[in-house]
């Protein structure tokens, strides 16, 4: 048995930089794969609705009539299913998180569909 086994570690950390970051003054660095939020390239979307069907939390609503693609940021669990399923590869996982909020945010994107008539699924 011995005492003061921790002393060396504690003394060492006195002279080290803090292990914690000064967030939010110093922003966090994201890794390439960090799943922060779903981003969409509106020009490529064809409103096929596959992402909405694949989403386990039904966070995505695709409105073909109103030409909008809507995502409920609070329902989304960042699972990346929609990104994998999108046939046009217009969805991607962006690394930064959506800012904290006190209400349920839904982001609505207008989709500029080319004017030639869409085929009904």
């Amino acid at each position: 048995m011995a005492s003061f086994k921790m002393a060396k570690t504690v003394l060492k950390s006195l002279f080290k930089k803090p292990a914690t970051a000064m967030y939010p003054a110093v922003p966090r660095e994201w890794t390439e794969r960090t799943r922060g939020h779903v981003g969409i390239i509106e020009e490529n979307c064809i409103l096929c609705g596959i992402c909405a069907r694949k989403c386990p939390t039904n966070a995505i609503v695709v409105d073909r009539k109103g030409k909008t693609w809507t995502i409920n940021r609070m329902s989304c669990i960042q699972c990346e299913s929609c990104v994998e399923a999108c046939p046009k590869k217009c969805l991607a996982m962006a690394p930064s998180y959506t800012p904290p909020s006190v209400e349920k945010i839904t982001d609505i994107f207008e989709i500029p569909l080319p004017d030639k008539e869409k085929t009904e699924a």
Binding site: A2, S3, T9, A19, T31, T34, P56, I77, M93
Partner: protein, 360 residues
């Protein structure tokens, strides 16, 4: 001899964030009897099989626990893969094993921190959690998530890791090993820590068997019931041997976990050095058939059990999970009998309770 009083412990208690409630019957500062009650955070996750298909269910299962999330996901995919007769490629199996061992490291470091906190050793607690953070960063780099990884799927893994990541893992493990060395000395040799742990809460081998203890609690009493020996993942190919201690007290349980940290370091290094090339997933065809399957998994806290029953549609008929804490509660109640009131928190901590996953 005074008369007995009942002291309520939890569900909100500073020593652990888990909502377990105990009625402690106390006589002269000794616990005569402990009556546990759980059920404060039931979430009804099993019921969700009715509305989520078997692929979506994976995300639900992963969220049973924030610490063993990878293990739960893997256990579930093992069960579904067994049901659907899917063979996972070698590379995926090795990577799953490595990721699971990384989870074990972060779980055990978390637990060691909580133990230090329970002992009142704040600086030790901070250092354990500082090291755990490195593992979480590694996870983020490899999978994209710090707590919920969503990297497993029925049929393999969703993402492969790159050679740079492989190097990162090796580097981090090397530095972790050095730093854990200095903390190990404190946990295993320091007089103040030993005073609180040695000889406290003895659980004999027969008691551990009779009460169906699992995981480090059983292994601390010398019971070898490590599920990793049953052929999940690549443990047998890696020459895995479980760590056993004979004493059955809090110190033995702590020692098992510390030695398991080193064992996980070794396993991960071995995997990263000899990782085979190849695909990480296979296409899965069809729906789960009308049959059932049981898979077992060694979580950081012990054996977990997954039951799935298919019905030919994309929804499972039934899905059941039994988590290790559920199995360890009888052993905890046993060790509490006759202990000092001051040791109660230590005894509850050393089974590493995860009540939220018990209640799913």
């Amino acid at each position: 001899m005074g008369k007995s009083t009942i002291i309520p412990f939890g569900p909100q208690h500073p020593v652990l964030p888990e909502p377990v409630h105990l009625d402690l019957e106390i006589m002269d500062e000794k616990v005569v009897r402990a009556i546990p009650s759980i059920g404060y955070v039931h979430r009804g996750l099993e019921k969700l099989t009715e509305t989520k298909d078997y692929n979506e269910m994976f995300y639900v299962i992963e969220r049973i626990c924030g610490i063993c999330s990878f293990g739960h996901g893997w256990g579930y995919t093992l069960a579904v893969e067994g049901l659907m007769n899917v063979d996972v490629p070698d590379r995926a199996d090795y990577l799953r094993t490595a990721l699971h061992e990384l989870s074990r490291i972060h779980s055990h470091l978390l637990w060691l921190g909580l133990l230090a906190d329970g002992l009142g050793f704040e600086s030790l607690f901070m250092h354990c959690w500082r090291l755990r953070e490195k593992v979480l960063d590694l996870f983020e780099k490899m999978t994209g998530g710090r707590v919920i990884f969503s990297i497993c799927k029925v049929g393999g893994l969703r993402k492969d890791i790159t050679p740079e990541m492989q190097n990162d893992v090796l580097k981090t493990i090397k530095s972790l090993r050095n730093e854990v060395n200095s903390l190990t000395k404190v946990f295993l040799d320091d007089a103040s820590v030993k005073n609180r742990l040695c000889g406290v809460g003895k659980l004999s081998k027969t008691e551990a068997v009779d009460l169906c203890a699992v995981g480090p609690v059983a292994r601390g009493s010398g019971v070898n019931n490590d599920i990793r020996l049953t052929g999940i993942g690549k443990y047998l190919d890696l020459g895995f041997k479980p760590i056993l201690e004979e004493d059955g007290d809090c110190y033995a349980r702590c020692k098992v976990r510390i030695l398991e940290l080193y064992q996980s370091f070794d396993l991960i290094e071995q995997i990263m050095l000899e990782l085979p090339q190849g695909p990480v997933d296979v296409p899965v065809k069809g729906m789960p058939p009308s049959n059932d399957f049981i898979a077992r998994m060694e979580q950081p806290r012990g054996e977990a059990f997954y039951y799935v029953q298919g019905n030919g549609t994309k929804y499972l008929q039934r899905m059941r999970v039994r988590t290790p804490t559920n199995a360890n509660i009888p052993a905890m109640v046993k060790t509490l009998q006759g202990c000092d009131l001051t040791d109660v928190s230590m005894l509850i901590l050393t089974i590493d309770p995860c009540i939220s996953c018990t209640e799913r």
